[in-house]
């Protein structure tokens, strides 16, 4: 029988990378995302006995993370202008990291995602990063599946519009 500590260790190792990325895009700030992870998993540890279905652990953690984000977000909102400095380049396949290339498509897309209004960004993250269905997103966000469909559609259109319009230089949130 696994102990509570062993169960928690396994949970952290299995889910923290995906959850961090979700938190990163929710906060749009690496330092805040790191803090958010600490608070999220601390809450998870305290409520671990409530987790009946380990297969649903990731969804359970996403719910905790979103609540913690809402709590932290009220206290501390990172300025949107600082996002460009925080979007570090991704490592290549060989693990090396190249110098930042502002013109690269990935960086343009990251900036565009960061500028999406939260009501578009959050369902998009849930669908693309977490593999949620529209119904699952709707339940998590408390809106209708039709509204989710619309927001997902508009999120993609806004991203494509920003990329087509060279929106990298814009500094406003794309609502």
């Amino acid at each position: 029988m696994a102990t509570k500590q062993a169960q928690f260790d396994a949970l952290v190792r299995a889910t923290s990378a995906d959850l961090y990325r979700f938190g990163h895009w929710l906060c749009r700030n690496p330092a805040l995302a790191h803090d958010l992870m600490q608070e999220t998993y601390l809450r998870a540890w305290r409520s671990l006995d409530d987790l009946r279905n380990t297969a649903a652990a990731k969804a359970w953690l996403i719910t905790i993370l979103r609540r913690e984000h809402a709590r932290l977000y009220e206290r501390k909102t990172p300025p949107i202008e600082s996002i460009d400095d925080q979007l570090a380049p991704l490592p290549d396949d060989d693990g090396s990291i190249q110098a930042p290339d502002d013109a690269s498509e990935d960086n343009l897309l990251r900036r565009a995602i960061a500028r999406l209004d939260r009501k578009y960004r959050e369902p998009l993250l849930m669908q693309v990063m977490c593999g949620y269905s529209c119904d699952e997103i709707a339940r998590e966000l408390g809106i209708t599946p039709q509204a989710v469909m619309t927001q997902l559609f508009r999120a993609r259109q806004k991203l494509k519009a920003m990329l087509a319009g060279g929106a990298a230089g814009e500094s406003h949130e794309f609502a």
């Binding site: 029988m1 102990t3 509570k4 500590q5 062993a6 928690f8 260790d9 952290v12 190792r13 923290s16 990378a17 961090y20 990325r21 990163h24 895009w25 690496p30 790191h34 992870m37 600490q38 998993y41 601390l42 540890w45 979007l87 570090a88 991704l90 490592p91 498509e105 990935d106 897309l109 990251r110 995602i113 998009l124 993250l125 669908q127 693309v128 990063m129 529209c134 039709q146 989710v148 469909m149 619309t150 997902l152 559609f153 508009r154 999120a155 993609r156 259109q157 806004k158 991203l159 494509k160 519009a161 087509a164 319009g165």
Partner: protein, 222 residues
Amino acid sequence: MSLHDNHNVIPFGAPHDGADDPLFEARLLRALQVPVPEDLVESILLRQTTESRHAVRARSRSASPVWRIAAAFALAVGGLGLFLSSLAPVQALSDLAVEHTLTHEPGATARTARVAPSQVRALFARSGVTLTAVPDGVHYINLCEIGRDLSVHLVSQQASGPVTIYYVPDHVESARMDFQQAGLQGRSVPLPGGTLVMLAATDGAFDQLESEWVRVLDPSRG
């Protein structure tokens, strides 16, 4: 009018969520894969174990009045009561260590791959202990609950066979003792900040391991 000009229009016949461009979806997924801090897992676990240890200490400090009265009563009943109460924790820790070894982690003694010293340090750090050095021969390490105490559980492979070692922080036994239980030889060694417990089929490596681990857990004994 293009879609870019009016974001409120969903064209007839288009997939509602707009995920109809595989190339764009692949780019989107790649762009979202931001790097994860290398120390993320360890920092989360360190924070959690630190809080757990503080919670245990707080519970100990805020023992209920009923327990305080019971403790006072135990002191008052005299020598026999004192004798029994001093023996109970020693037996309990050895019982719990043997039970954990036989039931929770039976495969730990069969591990052959060495654990990196950095991992050993990291696990001890999570239990609030800074090692001055890392003895050789660790082939398994984990944090386990021994009763209500979060303990470092490790296995050291020796010429005489595997030795299971527990370090139980903040649980200081009253005296060093050797014991036998369930076919295992055991030794319990109290240290200033916790107790070291060793279990094995034979006690041939106990003296050497005790010396090595006491030196790194309690540098004052040099």
